[in-house]
């Protein structure tokens, strides 16, 4: 008999009564061992979709299955197969990190010996072993995130749902997380990552779905999506001073200008002379350029092309 797919969602719609936002008619399918990225700006519906898939809330309509098990009718069976890290992880601050993780492992039905073995390994892996007996209220934000990852992984889930997993992690921990996700994927675990960190999604995910205003606007492998953008460039100018960038937007071929910290990111067509025109526009606006880079298109450019909006809020 054919093994059912790891995760299958059909026509998921959920609208929050308070704001009218949510997700509309979302369908997706994730295979065993596949790493699937949900990409979209804040408010695009990534976390809402994960809330539904994690069985935290029921959708207004639509269905989903985890390994063939109905996520609406057999919630507890589905929960047992899921590893979950929510966007804002919380813990019992007066308990130690170890006690928190052990508590969750046991609630997932892991026996005492297995829980201790799995947790020891994960605390070592994520460099938390030295802090395992400290109260969680003394942990930094990044340590709390690592603890949430440990809690998501300790029971050996079949499907992993991670909401902004690397946000707040230091560089070493981000690498450790990526290595762990690749290992899990190689062992057959399906992983869904909601993120707008495009570099991470690009390097980790086998397939990516873009969400915009609660709808799925495009889906494909990162290579397919990026190769669809032949003729697009991204110019990143680091400025000494913030400028009004209207004159850059009016340069022929410029699609979008987004300030990111000290950088001005210009999404534009790939035509001869455009770099000089953009630099001229910045200089005319009074910008003092300290660094300049012309980058190949990324998933962010794909999103800009599809929606006319950027993944990150403007600073």
């Amino acid at each position: 008999m054919e093994r059912p797919v790891a995760l299958e969602a059909r026509g998921i719609t959920l609208r929050y009564r308070s704001s009218g936002r949510g997700v509309e008619g979302l369908s997706l399918s994730v295979g065993w061992g596949e790493v699937f990225g949900l990409v979209g700006p804040n408010g695009s519906g990534k976390s809402t979709l994960l809330r539904v898939l994690s069985t935290a809330v029921e959708p207004d309509s639509g269905t989903f299955r985890v390994g063939g098990t109905d996520g609406l009718r057999e919630k507890r069976k589905v929960r047992a197969r899921l590893g979950l890290m929510v966007d804002r992880p919380t813990h019992y601050g007066d308990l130690s990190g170890w006690a928190n993780a052990y508590f969750f492992a046991r609630l997932y039905g892991v026996n005492e010996a297995k829980a201790e073995g799995a947790l020891s390994e994960l605390f070592e892996y994520f460099d938390l072993a030295a802090y395992r007996d400290d109260r969680v209220k003394t942990y930094s934000y990044g340590m709390g995130k690592k603890l949430a990852l440990i809690e998501a992984l300790a029971h050996g889930p079949d499907v992993l749902l991670l909401d902004e997993p690397s946000l707040g992690l230091d560089y070493t921990s981000q690498l450790a997380l990526q290595r762990k996700i690749r290992d899990l994927s190689a062992s057959g675990v399906a992983v869904v990552i909601a993120s707008n960190q495009v570099d991470e999604v690009e390097s980790l995910c086998d397939r990516v779905a873009f969400l915009h205003e609660g709808r799925l606007v495009e889906e494909g492998t990162p290579e397919e999506l990026i190769s669809s953008l032949q003729g697009v460039r991204r110019i990143v100018a680091t400025l000494r001073n913030p400028v009004e960038y209207g004159s850059v937007e009016s340069v022929a071929g410029v699609d979008q200008v987004v300030p990111e910290g000290q950088d001005l990111v210009v999404h534009c067509e790939d035509r001869p002379g455009i770099v000089a025109d953009v630099v001229g526009g910045i200089v005319r606006a009074g910008g003092d350029i300290t660094d300049l880079a012309v980058r190949r298109p990324s998933l962010e450019d794909v999103f800009v092309k599809l929606t006319g909006e950027t993944l990150r809020d403007e600073d």
């Binding site: 069976k77 979950l84 804002r88 919380t90 019992y92 007066d94 006690a99 052990y102 508590f103 609630l107």
Partner: protein
């Protein structure tokens, strides 16, 4: 049996209860500070019984309701509810462990009351059981309120609105000799049985016999616990 690290919801609550040492000291001292002077004084027995009753009712209601709304606001309870553990079991454990921990807080003060006012063992057991039934009822009310608000301050407000009529019906201070509908309603409030038992401990003659104090509150509490556990899926879902 190992409590920490916890492997069940109730053990987590016990570990937290005994882990916060200063808070634990305060929690153990305040019932004594209120109840013991009252028991040692010469105030009328019905008022002494009422004061102990009020302490039990308040400790139970605010304890579970407040801690539950804090955990709900924090998001940690929703995370716990996303494990395969049954939501009804989680709520049952919240209720049971809070009632037992409240009881642990009150027990030393109750023992001193029994020492100061010696009474038959049957009444001692009946009064102790009735106090526990009151704590279960009060915790059930607190959890019920947490279904409708995520603010600990609102819990205090709603609890007051629910508890005042129940305290009145139970005859702690007013309505000591109810008739008609009030007398009928009094039969369904576990606080009333505790009030009767404590009055007996303080030497007053009461209509109720000890066996009623065991049976009726037990039945009422079972119904309340069942009803509150049925609210679990709503209670433990994210507040959106």
């Amino acid at each position: 049996m190992r409590i920490n690290p916890p492997d069940a919801y109730w053990k987590k609550d016990v570990a937290l209860f005994f882990g916060r040492r200063f808070a634990l000291l305060i929690k153990m001292i305040y019932p004594m500070a209120i109840i013991v002077p009252v028991a040692a004084s010469g105030i009328p027995a019905e008022y002494a019984a009422a004061v102990i009753g009020i302490v039990a009712v308040m400790a139970g209601t605010f304890g579970a309701g407040e801690s539950l709304t804090i955990d709900l606001n924090d998001g940690i309870l929703v995370r716990v509810a996303l494990t395969p553990t049954s939501p009804r079991r989680i709520v049952f454990e919240v209720l049971a462990v809070n009632a037992v921990l409240d009881f642990v807080q009150l027990l030393p003060a109750l023992v001193i009351v029994y020492v100061l006012h010696p009474v038959s063992m049957m009444w001692v057991l009946a009064a102790t059981f009735a106090v526990f039934a009151t704590l279960v009822t009060a915790n059930a009310i607190g959890i019920f309120i947490a279904n409708f608000t995520s603010s600990p301050a609102d819990v205090l407000l709603y609890a007051t609105a629910i508890l005042f009529p129940l305290i009145y019906i139970s005859g702690f201070f007013r309505n000591r000799h109810p008739e008609g509908i009030l007398a009928f309603l009094r039969n369904f409030v576990p606080f009333a049985y505790m009030n009767d038992a404590l009055k007996a401990v303080f030497g007053l003659a009461v209509k109720a016999v000890p066996v009623e104090i065991f049976v009726y509150p037990a039945v009422i509490c079972s119904v309340l616990v069942f009803a509150v556990c049925m609210t679990a899926p709503r209670l433990l879902s994210p507040r959106l």
